[in-house]
Each structure stands twice: as C-alpha cells, then as structure tokens.
Point group: C2
Chain length 97, copies 2
C-alpha cells in the first residue's frame, strides 16, 4: 500500500526568506538520501487563497515501514531541526494512495 | 506551471463514517468531470501519528486558471457543500510543482 504523507506549515512571524531557502535546501537532499521516498514534492504557498498556510511537504512512501524509515532518517531529522523553531503550526495527514 | 492544491480537514465531533463515505463518493466523481484535474488523490488519515487531521485532498492542476476552474466547478462546489458542515477546521496550501 502506497502512503501519501502531507505536512502543512504555518511559519511564525520572525521567519525570513533566507530561512525558507534553508528549508528548501535541506528538503532537496532527502530524495537522494532516503530510498523509501517514491515521490517528494514541497514548496511555499503561492498566495492564491486567503488564510492558507505557508508551506507544504508531500512524501509518497511504500507502506508504514517506508513512512517510519522516512520519519527516522537522520537527514529528515536534520531538516525537522531547521523547521521546528520556525513553526507557528503544523498540520499533517497520512492516507492510502 | 503545475500547481498542487492541498486541503486537510479536521472533522467536527458529530461526523459519521457514512458522511465520510459521502465525501469520498462526491470527490470520486471529480476527475471525470473536471478536465483541469491532472491528478487527484484523497483519503482518510491512517492513524499513524497523534494529532493528525482526519482527511486530505490533493489536486494537481495546470496553472492558476486550472486551479480556479477546479474551485468554481459545480461538481466541486457540490462536494464542498457536503464537506463544509462537517468541518471543525480546514487548512490549505497551493504550491508550484
């Protein structure tokens, strides 16, 4: 069973464009580092609708084992360490593809 | 430019499994009805992580025009009419693919 993991972030008021670039750089490394990632897409909100959150990450993985391997991977944890202090809120869902 | 639209829903306390099935039925009709939808995936949260929202919709569209056509399509509006009273919260992002 394929699993799609989605996380949406709302940044806190102090976040700078440079910090967002650091997030993008860190996430860009993950597909090459984490074989369980079958598809990976992420990016900043385009401003097309009021009230949106600021950033989205979408990871397609092979089953729950793949999801756990992604969660626990040191490069993913390094990216989370960059993201965590930037967050005002984070909302996530994992659903079956 | 491809656009990925994501909406995550948290249901209110009165929502029943039958209502969720109605949402799934309504959303299942949209790919055939809305040509601007290049890819469409949705589903209930699998319960793999605490604090997740309950449902996710992911729509891949061709540019802002495609996104607006999806938003305004009568079948999409009909699905929203089913979903709206079920919502405790909705969080969305659109980003460039």
């Amino acid at each position: 069973m394929g699993i799609r993991h989605i996380a949406l972030f709302r940044w806190n008021d102090t976040v700078t464009p440079d910090q967002v670039e650091q997030v993008i750089t860190a996430l860009s490394k993950l597909p090459a580092a984490i074989p369980e990632l079958k598809n990976y897409a992420f990016g900043a909100d385009l401003g097309l609708a009021a009230g949106n959150y600021d950033f989205a990450v979408v990871a397609d993985l092979d089953g729950e084992d793949g999801f756990r391997a992604y969660q626990d991977h040191p490069d993913h944890r390094a990216a989370l360490a960059i993201i965590a202090p930037m967050l005002a809120d984070r909302v996530a869902v994992q659903f079956a593809l």
